[in-house]
């Protein structure tokens, strides 16, 4: 206590002073000690690497079909064979991941951003603002969203990644918005948030300095589970023909393509790889989410 009276110089000269570990730093350390979470992270990074670096692993183009060589079984030239249009399956698989991951992550981030802003405003201000905003959420939660996609595709006469992201974002923020509202309402009553007011901090400082940083744990968990959901959602929508057009390589599209009796029974190399990729991606993202939840809230672990 008496050793260093001067502010910086004294502390540097002693050298023994340890800087405290912030709660985020501690959470990161707990995350890294969780084997499943680390495995999930490694697998997800590997998936991202092979999809982003697809040209390194295959020299075919995902949009070049060879109609002279359709439905070919695996061979040296085509490790996963070719499909009924003559596309190289490995190429489609690698490039298809790009679309899937882009849709899932961008929709996840957008959901998070919109949900936080919307829920934050609603929960922080409360009263009639909250009431009005939550009634709108009620409407959105019950929105028939398959019809909405059909409607948009008909109106804009197009289908593609951007439309899919737009639709997913437009229809899925309400759930995260409502969730974040709850988090903000809970935070608003915390002593340290009330304390921020009593020292004279303004509304924005209170929100950005005291409330938002304390939602980081919840947010990262929310976004990881949302991303896992969107990977499945993209596959499902494309499978039933509402997501991406079949000309765009995607895992859901490959499944859809292979969903006939012959392919299912005699050509597992057509549908097994995309199915495995979808499952792996969802599982690894879920493990990351679980790991984040345990890391940020160690008491919650049973």
């Amino acid at each position: 206590m008496a050793t260093s009276m001067a502010s910086n110089a004294g502390i540097k000269s002693r050298g023994a002073v340890v800087k405290g570990k912030s709660p985020s730093r501690l959470a990161f350390e707990r995350f890294m000690r969780n084997p499943l979470a680390v495995a999930g992270t490694v697998i997800l990074l590997a998936i991202i690497f092979v999809t982003v670096g697809a040209p390194l692993f295959t020299h075919y183009s995902p949009s070049a079909m060879n109609i002279m060589n359709t439905n070919a079984p695996p061979s040296a030239a085509h490790p996963l064979g070719t499909d009924q249009s003559g596309y190289d399956n490995l190429t489609r698989l690698l490039y298809g991941g790009r679309v899937d991951l882009t849709v899932a992550f961008s929709a996840g981030v957008m959901t998070l951003v919109i949900g936080t802003i919307y829920g934050g405003i609603s929960g922080f201000f409360g009263g009639w603002i909250d009431n009005l905003m939550m009634r709108f959420v009620d409407v959105m939660l019950n929105f028939p969203f398959v019809v909405f996609i059909l409607f948009l595709e008909a109106v804009f006469n197009t289908s593609g990644e951007l439309l899919l992201i737009t639709v997913v974002v437009l229809t899925s923020w309400p759930a995260s918005g409502r969730f974040m509202r709850g988090v903000f309402i809970q935070l608003r009553e915390q002593d340290f948030v009330i304390g921020a007011t009593t020292i004279g901090a303004g509304t924005w400082r209170t929100i950005f300095r005291h409330m938002l940083p304390n939602t980081v744990g919840t947010l990262s968990v929310l976004v990881s589970f949302a991303v896992a959901g969107y990977v499945g959602l993209e596959a499902a929508l494309t499978f039933i023909g509402l997501g991406l057009p079949l000309t765009v390589a995607s895992w859901g599209g490959m499944l859809s393509d292979a969903s006939n009796y012959t392919a299912m029974t005699t050509q597992p190399y057509l549908w097994l790889p995309p199915a495995i990729m979808i499952v792996l991606t969802i599982l690894s993202v879920n493990f990351i989410g679980d790991g984040l939840r345990d890391a940020f809230d160690p008491q919650m672990r049973s």
Binding site: M1, T3, S4, M5, S7, N8, G10, I11, V17, V18, K19, G20, K21, S22, P23, S24, Q190, D191, F192, I194, G195, A196, T197, T198, I199, G200, A201, G202, R205, R209, H210, P213, N214, V216
Partner: protein, 342 residues
């Protein structure tokens, strides 16, 4: 230095009382806080919880007033009203002679320099994601008190005042014990050099051994900075230790207000008597009469008619059921709201 217990001299406090007759740092005038109860499908107001019901007192500069009462009697709500965390339904609060009840926005923020709060739970009153240094610097930064280096040296000074090492500012709240955290909270409250500190159960969450340290720190700070305290606690012994005057609350109302000595030695109100008789006493009084109250505290949503205490009062009279007693001075400096003495 604040490890030793040091009772506040009564002579000193009596002098403070007389000296300060004229100038009061805080004046609470007929303050009421009714929380609406919503009910029915239309969410209409069907009643009110009278958390604070017509409370008045004044606090001379440099004095400590203790607010005691059972949980739910409105003492914390009163503290929050004084801090302008909640707005009173009626009545006014004067800080240094200035009515702050309806001040809002930027003006209120400036006035807040003069009154700061120490919360009960040091585990929830410090933002877990801010380092101790930035927690203590925050009031100074928010109110633009000096340059970055000025603020840094002020933080170190404040840490020393509350008995923590300057290195603490690089650490985070979760790395400290309850008592140390409460010291951090006190340093934060002191940063703006307030004149009044509202301490809401400031030591109730701490171990008994740590309580004494923090109480002595508060007493030292009071002398050093000429602070006044509103000390809210359910612990009669703690209140006795720190206060000059004590106000006893029951169901949102003041039932007795007296200098500490008088209140503890010759309580007038039957509720105060019961409260004191229930408190454990270190001395052996084999034949001390214990007044045990029957029944529960009535709901503040439906307080009893007349005197709110009449349902449990051992000395209840007919008049108590119909007429609400007013707070009057029955002994020098000793106020009570009870029909027994009229």
């Amino acid at each position: 230095m604040w490890e030793r217990g040091r009772p506040v001299s009564t002579l000193e406090s009596d002098l403070a009382l007389k000296k300060s007759q004229g100038k009061s740092i805080l004046e609470v005038r007929n303050v009421k806080k009714y929380f609406p109860i919503m009910g029915g499908i239309l969410r209409r107001t069907v009643g009110h919880v009278k958390a604070v019901d017509d409370v008045s007192f004044s606090l001379p500069e440099g004095e400590t007033i203790g607010l005691v009462g059972e949980s739910g009697c409105g003492k914390s709500t009163l503290g929050r009203l004084i801090m302008r965390i909640n707005d009173p339904t009626a009545g006014s609060i004067l800080m240094n002679g200035r009515d702050i009840t309806r001040v809002k926005g930027g003006q209120l923020r400036k006035l807040r320099h003069d009154f700061q709060m120490v919360f009960q739970d040091p585990y929830s009153s410090l933002n877990p994601r801010m380092s101790v240094g930035s927690l203590i610097a925050e009031p100074l930064i928010v109110n633009r008190r000096g340059s970055r280096s000025d603020i840094q040296s002020e933080v170190v000074r404040l840490l020393e005042i509350v008995g923590l090492s300057p290195e603490a500012r690089l650490r985070f709240p979760h790395e400290f014990s309850g008592g140390q955290r409460q010291r951090i909270a006190i340093a934060r409250a002191l940063a703006l050099r307030p004149k009044l500190i509202v301490a809401d159960e400031a030591v109730s969450a701490l171990d008994v051994s740590i309580q004494a340290q923090v109480l002595n720190l508060l007493a030292d700070l009071r002398k050093e900075f000429g602070l006044s305290y509103v000390f809210i606690s359910h612990n009669l012994a703690v209140v006795k230790h720190v206060s000059d005057r004590v106000a006893v609350m029951y169901l949102g109302r003041l039932v007795e207000l007296a200098p500490k000595r008088q209140l503890y030695n010759s309580p007038l109100h039957p509720y105060t008597q019961a409260l004191l008789s229930a408190a454990p006493e270190p001395k052996r009084h084999a034949n001390r009469e214990r007044i045990v109250l029957v029944g529960d505290v009535p709901s503040p949503a439906k307080p009893p008619s007349g005197c709110a205490f009449h349902t449990r009062c051992p000395k209840v009279m007919d008049v108590c059921r119909s007429e609400r007693p007013v707070l009057k001075e029955y002994a020098p400096g000793q106020f009570t709201a009870c029909h027994l003495y009229t």
